[in-house]
Amino acid sequence: MLVTTYFFAFLFTLIFELVTAFCLGFREKVFFAALVFINGITHPLLWLIIFFIIQPFSPKGVDSYIIFLETSIIIIEYTLLKGMFGKHYRPQKLFLLAFTMNVVSYGGGRVLQYIGIL
């Protein structure tokens, strides 16, 4: 059950973040490929940390750690995007992208949880 949930969460995250990038004006295929791969690194790491490090040792839940974790993810994604596309895009725009993508995907994930899809 957990693995199925994870897989669909990953897919939804990709959808949310790619759509967000598209809406913010990013159109290059290489850029979208990079977003997929970057999320392919950060998303599994986030889930593994939550389920196997935080949750077993935190009886009150993971909510209090979410801000810290999401902030870390934003910084990691921004750093990777800047390293790859720093010459093509302004750092502010890349940071805005990383921030917005993660806010949208986190919010979207909570909505999907609430309505019972995830």
Binding site: M1, L2, V3, T4, Y6, F7, F10, K29, V30, F32, A33, A34, V36, F37, I38, N39, G40, I41, H43, P44, L45, W47, L48, I50, F51, F52, Q55, P56, F57, P59, G61, V62, D63, L80, G83, M84, F85, R110, Q113, Y114, I115, G116, L118
Partner: protein, 236 residues
């Protein structure tokens, strides 16, 4: 994109045995029931605190001492085979459940329905008090084979922090043991008896392994693909 194709091909080739292990077998009623519970759980937007496992009586006993969990039990009436006697012990933390229908919907047998009503009534009281579930639910092996009679679960009778109920309908015996919200605060010597130690919530191998395999494979494939993509961007 070539990279994307390789990436998704890698996932498709690498993970189906993990991903669809829980999907392919046709669900039996208990599976459906379990799914419902999980669905209810997810609706409440509280992350799952435990895991679920199929266990025999002895395993449930082992879990029973964990106050961070509650367990529920499900079995077919009159079951004699292992399959019929399957006991499901999903472990959840249903702090925000608001009404009984959201929590339990089992309605297979009349007596079981009554039991559920009783149980949900208890839970409703519990939830009104807005306290997290601290207890657990076990089956009583000695009662399992004695139909139509009521037994106590003596191991918990002397624990004032718990109340319990049970009913018997053929093979249906429920012995949920809950931490009572309204129970008076007791000295530690009473609330933490040697028979009921507080154990940190475990993560079970059943859930852990496929999750690690899938997430790990995605991360590794992504890292490899990202390196190639990065080199390509640097060259161009």
């Amino acid at each position: 994109m070539k990279f994307l194709r390789v990436f998704f091909l890698g996932i498709v080739l690498f993970s189906p045995h993990v991903l669809f292990a829980d999907i392919l077998p046709p669900p039996d009623p208990a599976e459906v029931l379990r799914d419902k519970k999980v669905e209810v759980w997810k609706k409440k937007t509280i992350p799952c605190k435990g895991s679920e496992m199929r266990c025999i009586d002895d395993s449930c006993k082992e879990l029973d001492s964990n106050r961070g969990y509650f367990l529920w039990y499900y079995g077919y009436a009159g079951g004699t085979h292992d399959h019929d006697r399957s006991i499901y012990c999903p472990i959840s933390f249903k702090e925000s459940a608001q009404n009984q229908e959201d929590v339990f919907r089992m309605s297979l047998y009349t007596l079981q329905e009554q039991a559920e009503m009783k149980r949900t009534k208890e839970r409703e009281e519990w939830y009104v008090k807005n306290h997290p579930c601290k207890g657990s639910e076990v089956t009583c092996p000695e009662s399992y084979y004695n139909m139509g009679r009521h037994y106590d679960c003596p191991a918990y009778d002397n624990n004032p922090l718990y109340f319990k109920w049970h009913t018997i309908d053929s093979a249906q015996i429920f012995c949920p043991i809950f931490y009572k919200a309204s129970a008076p605060v007791l000295p530690n010597s009473l609330s933490e008896s040697p028979d009921d130690p507080i154990i940190p919530e475990p993560v079970y191998e059943k859930d852990k392994k496929p999750m690690v395999v899938l997430a790990g494979s995605i991360a590794i494939l992504s890292a490899i693909a990202l390196i190639f993509l990065f080199k390509r961007i640097r060259r161009s």
